[in-house]
Symmetry: C2
Subunit: 220 residues, 2 copies
Amino acid sequence: MASLAEENYLKLIYHLSGSGAEEVSTNALAEQTQTRAASVTDMLRKLADKNLVHYKKYQGVRLTQDGQEVALQVIRRHRLWEVFMVEKLGFRWDEVHPIAEELEHIASEELINRLDAFLGFPVSDPHGDPIPTAAGAMPSAEYEKLCEVTAGQQVTMMGVLEHAASFLQFLSKAGLIPGSVVSVLEINDFDRSMILKINESAPSFVSYEVARNILIKFSV
Amino acid sequence: MASLAEENYLKLIYHLSGSGAEEVSTNALAEQTQTRAASVTDMLRKLADKNLVHYKKYQGVRLTQDGQEVALQVIRRHRLWEVFMVEKLGFRWDEVHPIAEELEHIASEELINRLDAFLGFPVSDPHGDPIPTAAGAMPSAEYEKLCEVTAGQQVTMMGVLEHAASFLQFLSKAGLIPGSVVSVLEINDFDRSMILKINESAPSFVSYEVARNILIKFSV
DNA sequence: ATAAAAATTTAGGCGAGCCTAAATTTTTAT
DNA sequence: ATAAAAATTTAGGCTCGCCTAAATTTTTAT
């Protein structure tokens, strides 16, 4: 069994490695965990001893098969609890992340699979992030970023890359939530900011920084 | 904030003291926590420093007002999650205790109050135990034990004093769950065992040991 | 190519929560 | 009343996950 701290490291390594593709540096982990690099080194040695990561001194770290399975389990729990809180308890999407950070460590598989069924086997969380299956597979939806869309096109909002509460609250106010239909009316050449029409409401302005963090798919 | 271990001690002291009435001994705590008396002493000093218990060396321990509030919060969370698992996720009442032992430490008050509302503000958990209110009051239902009922009387099953899964499974099989209507047909003088009619089904036999762990109220 | 800078690891320490062994206090039995 | 037994506490240690300071390796800049 992985401890709470170990689960958090594995989840973080998964995210920072681009779903397990690249090596992750000690410093990157230290920054995200709010700890010191020396503490990260300690933990990486422990995870390597348990065969949860591939680790060579000074060379960064990658998840093993076992490590990736644990990470995906934790991510699955996190996202299912987020769906529960938003869909069943009436939380807003910008409120649920910190609470899900705690709930994600409740280990019972029976609990999480029953929760999954109770929620109707959702495929993505309130932020549009895909929910790993009980079998441990991450459904990889390949979306574009809003900043890559050209003027005149119509797209559907599918999710976000940034999860800060302030960002999510901004999107809510603009009506930019997963499922929203968005037309790009204008793009400002100078700063790449956009003017959007969102679900038939009055045009909204979004900066490049915002557009870069929104995932979309092109309407069929 | 109380740590996970601290919350468990406070909850246990509450239960072992008969809802805070009497002093609890170091050994009693050691037995229940599956730790050594010396470890309990360590923790009691820490809880006393935080003003969560009244503690005098060699004299046992009692909850302070603060300590009791924490204990009731933890018990509230535990029992609400049990209701959730049984009512919404379809767990049996003998399965939920160990999972609730983990869920009870998720701190968010917002979460637990929304869960309470989602469940329709239940007043007792699947075992008939009362659920402390958000304000921290324990609704004290005063029930009799089934072993105190005399032959010929009709009562309603209200809850249990023993929470072991094997005991709960036995009761389920007999149809003896909170709400069941029970008539005491016969009592054996020798061993105080009983023959019961439960909800119009065929008569069942229960030992004194079982009857002693079942709470009932007299039918009006 | 090499020196300075940056990243990482090693060494030694700390608090939380547990342990064993030994000392102390309280309770029980005579 | 007092000695034996039981309960409890103290002393010293351990692991986990973190820390700082110093040493080492890798990267970057010239």
